[in-house]
Subunit: 232 residues, 2 copies
DNA sequence: CCGACTTTGTGCATCGCTTCACAAAGCTAC
DNA sequence: GTAGCTTTGTGAAGCGATGCACAAAGTCGG
């Protein structure tokens, strides 16, 4: 996406690395809770479920924060990764769509270990508006733009039905939001510069089904190209 | 993972392609509902949010199902992709952990367009056991192995707290399940041959935060390496 | 101060996915 | 049958991520 010129101290961290940093952070937090002062790339990689060479290369993109012969200082590395991910500041998040999923997200314990704060819950259904969920009152989607501006919302979670998702998306991007987490099963169209991440249960299940089928037999039965002699 | 020998009609479909097939399928279903008989790679790619060359290469892995000068027959392509993904059969899915998230998943409308059927809802909390959710009665996790065997469950969704996830995982894999969709924020350890897919809200938010921070300034403030003069 | 040991950081080869660009294939009109 | 148009399927180049393997850098005991 972003076109960058490689530099001496290149701040362009590969996407694949960024996607793994939260994993390392979680593993490190576990170690910190148990009071572990330092950790080797080997052990941290094991805890995060990746191989150690990859872990070292990932961390090398942030800087040279390890000590040869010793490993990484757990607290220091937690701080560096948190800073890189932007978790040293609080992000105001609004959740649009307070159905089953929206409620589940709103109640998600502590809303992920620090860094994020639910600043608004919105729904289009008048019967839901006014409900109190984990300390917040659900507001009507008419207030969407006002809530975003008033409370400095920079990340919006879309947990609406598929049919409403694009419209919500258009409104929040128009209101200046540039980061969206989409749970609705649709491909969102957004202006340049807006990041959308998608979480899609049905896609995940379908990928699992594919592999499951592969395990059962060697793939689909090749002789059967179309059922019951359907003609083209 | 699986070591394959390339063949004339290679059935080894790249992972990246498999991950996109459900997207194409969804777009095709939308077209089918509107009665569109055929579609070009260009139009289908647009609807699925990918570029057309990639779409054509993806579809070419399934076989040669298009007609030059015309495009793809919508119905036929739906059938071929469904078959490849293993959606022409029904998969029995069990959901373990009926908290907010488990309920949201259980109520997920029609449980994704065909191919999957919820065969069990299980929870360790006696206060939840016996609840009726979208036509199913919640059973106790003591019954886990029995439910899996009795109802031919082949895919398990883990929606438990993080602390219970590995234990549930161990039990279901021991019971013969080889496909797991994990919503708990932990790295699951599984035997060879078991597929785990992970859905993790906090990771997605952290990735968004990273990019959001990049947009705001040119990255973290480099001068500040550690706050308040903390000594190492 | 030295030598043995540990562990990081990285150059390099490799792999898999993406994208381009175009020949081959099929359609329609005449 | 042929010309002209459309669109697929794919060879090949490009690009980024992975993993190996090792030199560099640091620790520790004596």
């Amino acid at each position: 996406m972003s076109r960058r010129i490689p530099q001496a101290r290149d701040r362009g961290i590969p996407d694949a690395t960024v996607a793994r940093l939260p994993l390392y952070l979680r593993a490190l937090n576990g170690l910190a809770e148990r009071g572990t002062p330092t950790v080797s790339s080997e052990d941290l990689a094991l805890a995060a479920g990746v191989n150690s060479a990859k872990l070292r290369k990932d961390l090398s993109h942030l800087g040279s924060y390890g000590t040869r012969g010793v490993g990484y200082d757990v607290q220091y590395l937690i701080y560096q990764i948190s800073r890189e991910l932007g978790l040293t500041q609080d992000w105001a998040v609004a959740i649009v769509g307070v159905g089953n999923l929206g409620r589940a997200l709103a109640n998600y314990g502590g809303f992920v270990s620090r860094g994020f704060r639910i600043a608004g819950l919105l729904d289009a259904d008048p019967r839901v508006v006014g409900d109190r969920i984990s300390g917040l009152v659900v507001e009507h989607t008419d207030e969407l733009e006002a809530v975003i501006k008033k409370r400095g919302v920079s990340i919006v979670v879309i947990a609406t039905p598929a049919s409403a998702a694009q419209q919500v998306c258009d409104r929040v991007t128009a209101a200046g939001v540039t980061s969206i987490l989409n749970f609705a099963p649709v491909v969102l169209t957004v202006p340049d510069g807006v990041d959308v991440r998608k979480v899609d249960l049905s896609i995940e299940l379908q990928i699992l089904a594919f592999h499951e089928q592969r395990k059962a037999n060697g793939g689909p039965i090749m002789s059967e190209e179309w059922p019951d002699g359907v003609v083209m």
